[in-house]
């Protein structure tokens, strides 16, 4: 049975069951209710119970007569009460009595209300509507209170309930513990949704049991639970949590915990949970560490990140981002052979913001693409300025983030910017990192090939840092390999340049020029020159220079 049509007020018609033995009464009630409701009929209590069994899920209300053959209204109510599935269906008793006993008995047996015969249309329709509404809103409250999978609160209710709790207990000290299965998607893929649902149920139970002095727990996201507990002083969490996930279907479950100690009673509970999750994220990828605390440092970092995100667009519009140029020294000619455009941010509130702080943040929120285009424009203007002032014009390298490749016509956009400034394509070098290639190899190779075909020079940045892949060297249409400063540093400190030499030789075989980054000493310069490196970049030769300094440098 489904809701078939709408009633006069445009709401879906609810289903109402009339249990009444007298045909004329039943038909009349049917006629009275037919405008507002879908009406089902039963001729006595037994038929009524049968209808209830078949339709309890979609029945909104029963109108029940008292005196009927076979099974009367009292018996119907007794039977109904024995099956809790039927609890959600309210009953209004219709009675012709002028005396209260029957009504009292019916109410005692669980009837919700009664109407007397003769039927008053307005009273019946309104009473039925009111009771249905009351029951439905109570059921909504119920649904909103509990998570539909675990025996924990739903997120909304948990936040609200804990807020009330904390407001009412100003003196108590509490900790918020959030736990997340960080590889839930993978587990879900492998074990299926049903199994993972059961695992979540079991895990919620265990956490509720294992965590000390739990006030309440909620499921705040798919595989994230939050528990407010009484404050624990210097507790050894490793032992507490070690066995929580033991024996659950997935032996490779990665369960991480973030803890906010002494929660701020005035802070929104959802924000407290966010903080616990931020703490948790610090160990998300760390094998063997499962707990992290929300610290002052983390808080400061979070605040800085927030300020940065809030002000980044304005900063770009106001040109707070300053482009510096770090010259590259050509080891063959002994002259400046190029420069890398590097961005610096002088924030009006935060002061100097380190690129290694804001660039990863921009890479997460996508703003890096706006910044990259800005730097590209500035670099073009710089080339034009050098040319017009009769200075030594060198190619300028700009960084292109892996995210920029999401722009479909990246190559055309870059060409368009260069052309709009009248800059020869060969004077713009595009620096990419291997991570760009790993994310989306086909797209990146195609875009780089298009750039290369358009005359731009492609440089591979940071070679040797992190996980370098020889496959990417093979696939990418490169012109230049930039050796990461870490391998130069290591070679210098160990006085062992074998890796550097091999890299330079390999680059040579592949037809690539080499640039060594982070060169700081004369000795390093000498070694690199002997090994056949083409260019060096680093403090030994020149630090990143402001526009004016750079122009003086190349004059």
């Amino acid at each position: 049975m489904v809701y078939s049509t709408k009633n006069d007020s445009g709401m879906p018609k609810r289903n109402v069951l009339i249990v009444e033995d007298n045909d004329v009464n039943r038909e009349m009630l049917h006629a009275i209710l037919a405008n507002e409701f879908n009406v089902l009929e039963a001729k006595d209590g037994l038929e009524g119970l049968d209808q209830l069994r078949r339709n309890y899920g979609s029945l909104s209300l029963v109108l029940l007569d008292v005196y009927m053959p076979r099974c009367d209204g009292f018996e119907f109510l007794r039977q109904k009460r024995m099956d809790e599935r039927f609890d959600s269906v309210p009953v209004i008793v219709t009675t012709a009595s002028d005396l209260c006993e029957d009504e009292i008995e019916c109410l005692r047996l669980g009837a919700n209300d009664f109407v007397v015969k003769p039927y008053n249309v307005e009273i019946i329709v309104n009473r039925v509507n009111n009771i249905i509404r009351l029951r439905e809103s109570a059921s909504i409250v119920n649904q909103l209170t509990w998570d539909n999978l675990t025996e924990l609160y739903s997120s909304e209710f948990f936040y609200r309930h804990m807020h009330d709790f904390l407001s009412n207990s100003q003196t108590g000290a509490y900790d918020m513990v959030c736990s997340e299965i960080t590889n839930f998607k993978a587990l879900s893929d492998r074990y299926g949704k049903g199994n993972c649902d059961r695992m979540l149920q079991e895990l919620a139970k265990r956490l509720n049991f294992t965590l000390p002095n739990v006030v309440a727990g909620g499921r705040i996201a798919n595989s994230t639970f939050a528990f407010l507990i009484e404050h624990q002083n210097n507790r050894d969490w490793t032992n507490t949590l070690m066995n929580v996930s033991h024996g659950l279907i997935a032996t490779n479950m990665s369960l991480k915990f973030g803890i906010v100690e002494n929660v701020d009673h005035g802070l929104a509970v959802s924000l407290t949970c966010d903080r616990a999750v931020i703490a948790l994220e610090q160990v998300r990828e760390t094998f063997g560490v499962s707990v992290a605390w929300y610290t002052e440092d983390l808080h400061a970092k979070q605040v800085r990140e927030q300020v940065i995100v809030e002000t980044m667009e304005q900063a770009l519009a106001e040109k707070q981002f300053i482009v510096y140029y770090q010259p590259k020294y050509d080891l063959h000619t002994g002259q400046t052979g190029g420069a890398e455009a590097l961005v610096r941010w002088i924030h009006p509130e935060l002061g100097f913001v380190r690129p290694d702080f804001f660039i990863p943040l921009f890479e997460r929120n996508g703003f890096i693409t706006n910044l990259d285009y800005y730097v590209l424009e500035e670099a073009c203007k710089e080339i034009v300025r050098c040319r017009e002032n009769g200075l030594h014009v060198v190619p300028i390298s700009v960084n292109v983030s892996r995210l920029d490749f999401d722009t479909e016509d990246l190559a055309q956009q870059i060409a368009h910017i260069a052309d709009s400034h009248g800059v020869d394509h060969s004077l713009l070098h595009i620096e990419i990192t291997e991570t760009a290639y790993i994310d989306n190899p086909d797209l990146v190779v195609a875009a780089l090939q298009e750039l290369k075909d358009n005359g731009f020079i492609i440089e591979l940045d940071d070679f040797g840092a992190g996980y370098s892949s020889l496959a990417s060297l093979n696939m990418l249409p490169l012109d230049v390999m930039k050796l990461d400063m870490s391998i130069i540093r290591q070679a210098a400190s160990l006085d062992d340049y074998r890796i550097v030499r091999s890299a330079i030789q390999m680059a040579g075989f592949l037809g690539l020029k080499t640039v060594a980054e982070g060169v700081e000493t004369e000795e390093e310069t000498k070694q690199l020159k002997e090994l056949g490196c083409d260019m060096i970049q680093g403090y030994y030769f020149a630090k990143p220079l402001e526009q004016r300094e750079f122009e003086e440098y190349v004059s």
Partner: protein, 122 residues
């Protein structure tokens, strides 16, 4: 004959009936359905056979139905019988001439049925 005229003849309250059922047609329809209802006859039969329990149940049903159809006079008789027969109402029962009430109801019911048939056949 209109339903309104019929109601006047059988001791009913047409205004009440129309307020409940909304349209003249429905009032006309449900008064015809009364022809098939056995509760008044059941009441008379049970009483005449001395089955007080069944007579009470039938009276209860007749009372509710007549009230719903706004058959005021029949309803009044059925109510008096019902209350007098209700278990626990022995004091009322002792003061009530149930035979007389059932006799009146039987007569009124027969007359009403005859007029409703006439209304049906026109």
């Amino acid at each position: 004959m209109t339903p309104k005229e019929l109601y006047a003849q059988i001791g009913g309250d047409y205004e009440e009936a129309i307020s409940r059922l909304g349209t003249d047609d429905l009032v006309g329809y449900f008064i015809l359905r009364f022809l098939d209802d056995g509760s008044c006859n059941d009441l008379v039969d049970a009483w005449e056979q001395g089955d007080e329990d069944e007579a009470f149940k039938a009276a209860h049903t007749a009372k509710g139905l007549c009230a719903n159809l706004a058959l005021t006079d029949l309803c009044s008789l059925a109510t008096q019988i019902c209350e007098a027969l209700r278990p626990g109402n022995e004091a009322l029962r002792a003061q009530t001439d149930i035979d007389a009430l059932v006799g009146q109801l039987k007569e009124l019911y027969a007359s009403a049925i005859q007029k409703i048939r006439a209304f049906q056949e026109q």
